[in-house]
Symmetry: C2
Subunit: 225 residues, 2 copies
DNA sequence: GTTAAAATCATACGAACGTATGAATCATAC
DNA sequence: GTATGATTCATACGTTCGTATGATTTTAAC
């Protein structure tokens, strides 16, 4: 019996499969990053994407779920990369804990590299991520819990071995300070400052400098009392 | 000629002057900090404040202007404090530039102390400020430009004397990283983490630790190439 | 071609939005 | 008292919001 069924269709039209869905995701990411989650209506998105108003509710169910989908598309690979890099660092280190440098690299390199790669959202997603951290949205919070919490917990555990002189609270607190620093720099990445300057730099330079900053900051001794 | 006019009226009612205006400001600050600028309607505010719907447009002109007023009420004193503290540090130092520690203290102490003082908005305003940084709003941007730009420019200049081995871009970039770190910690100040922990600590402890973090981070050497 | 599912479309609904208006109420000055 | 300005109030306007619906078009399998 010969089955002529093919799962991957030969496109009769010029349109790629999921073209509408993807265009909506891209445009939504762009607009959300530029104006904020609440300030963008689904009409803004469908208009800019050149698709029908109903497209969003058809493909995503609701605006809420669209926001979740936009965020998840980028955060999922980052979380995986982070955990993979951390594991690699542990493997390299062998029986002793990995170096602080290696752990911080595993934590921040995935985000920075993604934020510098136009194919994966570039600076746009960087800004969106900051918004998702700040603007409370049920759908986003669920996605963040699912992807980010395990990462933070995992890194937290390792870092306590790397820096045994710090308490658990110290480690967590410093980690969050660095995440905040990262976000701020992503937010300002392509913004022109009041004096006309910009903070843009080469991706590799950025990564090196940020990691140097992070490593030094993390080594700060705890003040007495 | 005896004028019996008095500018400060003896209140016939129990209501303080500007009571409605102030209640609106307080409630709006609270709600904006909790839910974000765009997610709060003026009906939410007037309902929570127990005042008439028209009160906001009567006292502030528009929602936009209310947002500006809420933000300005807190950021103005902070900006003044920062500049005053920086001047004091320069005076103390005499002919040489002030220490990095003193400059960072002048920059961050006002915000932290305000964020710890319930009388001046406490943690609520800390969160609101983060939102104002992230959510673009015409009225807020104008206020931020007016108050924050001069401060950053002034500190920038001084810091370049304090750390002459850094370029202007380095100084600016590190300053923004630290501002991001500060904001993140304000945002998380009273948030319960997934494991039930919190990052709350004594104000004086917080300030000491953050300044130690900032000072160390700022001293980080620039990576080669 | 026929058929059924998937996708797109124009359109409508009720709710909530920011703002404006004019009457009612209050406080103060004479 | 009366007059005047400041404030509060109930209410209405036009717009935009997210979502739902049913018709229409497109796609893929036979």
């Amino acid at each position: 019996m010969i089955l002529t069924t093919h799962k991957t269709p030969l496109f009769a039209s010029e349109k790629a499969p999921g073209a509408t869905r993807n265009r909506v995701l891209n445009v939504a990411e762009q607009l959300f990053a530029e104006r904020g989650l609440h300030a963008v209506s689904i009409r803004d998105i469908t208009r800019a994407a050149g698709v029908n108003l109903g497209a969003i509710n058809y493909h995503f169910g609701s605006k809420e779920r669209l926001i979740g989908a936009v965020f998840e598309r980028r955060i999922a690979p980052i979380s995986e990369e982070r955990l993979r890099a951390l594991e690699a660092a542990e493997k390299t280190a062998g029986d002793v804990p990995p170096t602080l440098e290696a752990v911080l690299d595993a934590m921040f390199r995935p985000t920075v590299e993604q934020a510098m790669d136009p194919e994966r959202g570039g600076a746009t997603f960087g800004k969106l991520m900051v918004r998702c951290f700040v603007e409370p949205h049920t759908a986003v919070e669920e996605v963040m819990r699912r992807y980010l919490d395990p990462v933070v917990r995992r890194f937290d555990t390792v870092l306590m071995c790397v820096k045994p002189n710090l308490t658990a609270e110290d480690v967590l607190w410093r980690m969050h300070l660095l995440i905040g620093a990262l976000h701020q720099s992503l937010l300002l990445w392509d913004r022109t400052l009041p004096d006309g300057r910009t903070l843009r730099m080469e991706p590799e330079t950025y990564l090196k400098r940020f990691l140097a900053f992070a490593k030094t900051a993390f080594h700060a001794s705890i003040p007495e009392a």
